[in-house]
Symmetry: C2
Subunit: 412 residues, 2 copies
């Protein structure tokens, strides 16, 4: 039991830290509590309860189901729920009217067939990508409401009352959700996407600089620096590679949000996804770079030294450009430094290419000067790793430029 | 309106193709229809209706909400719904008992406070990764049931009946879902994951072979071959890079599934994720490779020719190993060919390294033979692209070996 208690303690501690690191999670929990307590007033206050009766339950259910972490998700579910319910309600009435005209014998058959057909069709629509992205929840609510109302029509006489109460209670619940979600410390999906993408830019910059630094200044006292902290920085690009899913979800929800913060209405969220995609292609190049650095074909130190200053410069320039792009995105206005940094990066990349071009001369020079010096000549095998890293760096420069273009489009 | 009709026609056609390409989607829709029609019998048949009364609605709702595309998802929701409802029901009774002892004045306060606290706590638990992965839906259902039952307790006398009926109707609904989902053409998340991962292996193999072929046999009549079909193959690795989200979801759902098909109980789904991860690291190397192929520093054709046969061999060997690994996974037993293919791949990679090692001699040989031949000597700049591609190929070989190890672990 001591072991179990220990495990429980660790679990609770971790959970608590989760909230402490992002206090908005606590706030969200409180918001849910507030919304639920508010909606339960419909039970406690006699006049309110008399208005909606036992159907007050629908309002409570709506709050629980619709209230999501981000404002975008709440709005998305709200609109889907209202539209799905209304549409299904009307259709159910139509079917009920037809069925009741057809006589008692045919009524269950007509209702049953209509449920079968509409539920199948609505289920199929959830597979269609454009509908899935925007109206997945609405389609489910449509099936739900249509089935419940049209089946109930067989047993309940006052079907109209039921449908009306269902719609009005859902309206009450959704309004309450929207109000609580948007007024008390709202969490915008657009803002989250913005923070995620700009944070990822910084991560890419740190990873790139980290791995170039680690490789080229390895001979010096880097063993001490190479602690966990810097290792974590180095692996930041992995987060970038795996964050596509989150970004897509956020961009999809941000679409539903009204103007907020720095963002105007109809902010180009797709542009954020483009920045993220170009960033990911840069990150996969960094992945290959790190693979080459850790490969077996190690280059000897004297070769590395020859390249180190200029390679470090390319790495540092790329990193500072990416960081400046992140700052541009944060401030949402063009930074004059970006153009200078792009130029510097291009220059250093060109210097690196010049250095590479000068290499064969270097080999030849030694050959011609002294035949004896043949043993200290640079063989290609020794240079492979450095050459590969250099050309990967040049490729990374090209991809960073691509990020630059995407950010520029965004800032226009 | 003609334009609108055209758009609608295209939309419907696309949707139809979606189903034709994967007929299981149609089957799933029919299954939903069947389950809903079956559950509506509780309304049409008098004895059944008398058993559960107006609460038959809960059974219908359960079917709509719980029935998912894959068996794993349906089971996940079923278990979560039953556990969440039962737990919340018991707790709600406890709170109701305490509140009713406290007197009419305090009852709403006690109920309100308990809803606030429990809803906040349960909402918070949904942020904890381990709970989110397995009991996200259960936590929501817990909040829902607890709120509805404990609030209703204020107005309804026969609370016990309500709770009991809610639980029994949910049981009816979930049982129906499980039966329909598992007996009629079940779609297993584990099987889907299996198909996705093995299909992705093929995609990686095709991309790798495609890009090596395209680069090294470019001078020949590749322009005609380079049609859309082969381009699509070439870009297959991009699907691999972006399929992490789907894989995680599938692996998460597969955990809930009982033994099925080739899979025994407790199949190591995590191992599939490992294979997928190693495959992705290979794919990001291919991404860098394609970047290098398209870079500005083109190598002249005579240099490429020198390397082409061996590079093509490395590419083809890697690709056939990956395809063999995919076959191994499909058949779920070790293939004797894998070891041979690994050996062949290693050999060809070593040949490539030997060829690289022989290069500087080539340069020197020319230098020493004739001083005049200096203009036809190979400069490093010309060779950079080929060297980079070669060392990326060697890196890819290392990562393919990693895939091999993961698949081997899986087949053990």
């Amino acid at each position: 039991t001591a072991k179990l208690a220990m495990k429980l303690y660790i679990f609770v501690k971790k959970a608590w830290e989760l909230g402490v690191n992002d206090p908005r999670k606590f706030i969200h929990c409180l918001k849910v509590g507030i919304a639920l307590t508010a909606v339960s007033l419909f039970y406690y206050m006699k006049p309110l309860y008399d208005g909606v009766g036992g159907n007050a339950m629908w309002a409570v259910m709506t709050v629980v189901v619709v209230f999501e972490h981000t404002a975008g998700a709440t709005i998305y579910k709200t609109i889907n729920r209202i539209c799905g319910t209304s549409l299904a309600g009307f259709l159910a009435f139509g079917v009920h009217w037809v069925a009741s005209k057809a006589g008692d014998e045919f009524e269950p058959i007509i209702v049953g067939v209509s449920i079968f057909l509409l539920a199948s069709a609505a289920t199929f629509s959830r597979f269609i990508p454009t509908i899935k992205a925007r109206f997945d929840y609405g389609a489910m609510i449509f099936i739900l409401t249509f089935s419940v109302i049209s089946i109930s029509g067989y047993r309940i006489d006052k079907l109209m009352d039921m449908a009306q109460q269902r719609i009005s209670t859902i309206l009450i619940g959704t309004c309450l959700c929207i109000i609580v979600s948007l007024t008390i410390c709202p969490i915008w999906a657009g803002q989250e996407l913005h923070v995620l993408v700009t944070g990822n830019l910084d991560k890419v910059a740190n990873s790139l600089q980290g791995c170039v630094d680690q490789y080229f200044s390895h001979s010096e006292a880097s063993a001490e620096v190479n602690d966990e902290e810097s290792n974590k920085k180095l692996l930041g690009y992995k987060c970038v590679l795996s964050s596509k899913g989150t970004e897509d979800v956020m961009a999809n929800l941000a679409r539903w949000e009204p103007a907020h913060g720095h963002f105007n209405f109809r902010h180009p969220w797709k542009q954020y996804l483009k920045v993220a995609a170009s960033m990911r292609s840069c990150a996969s190049c960094i992945d290959a770079l790190i693979g080459c650095i850790n490969s077996e074909n190690k280059a000897p130190d004297h070769i590395k030294k020859n390249m180190s200053s200029i390679s470090l410069k390319v790495g540092a320039n790329c990193a500072s450009l990416i960081k400046e792009l992140a700052i541009t995105m944060r401030n949402m206005k063009k930074s004059s430094k970006v153009d200078i940094l792009i130029m510097e990066m291009n220059n250093s990349a060109q210097e690196l290419q010049h250095l590479l071009k000068s290499y064969p001369n270097l080999v030849n020079a030694q050959d011609i000067e002294t035949e004896v010096a043949a043993e200290i000549e640079i063989s290609l095998v020794e240079i492979i790793q450095v050459v590969t890293i250099a050309s990967l760096l040049i490729e990374i420069v090209a991809r960073v430029k691509c990020i630059g273009r995407c950010v520029e489009e965004l800032s226009d």
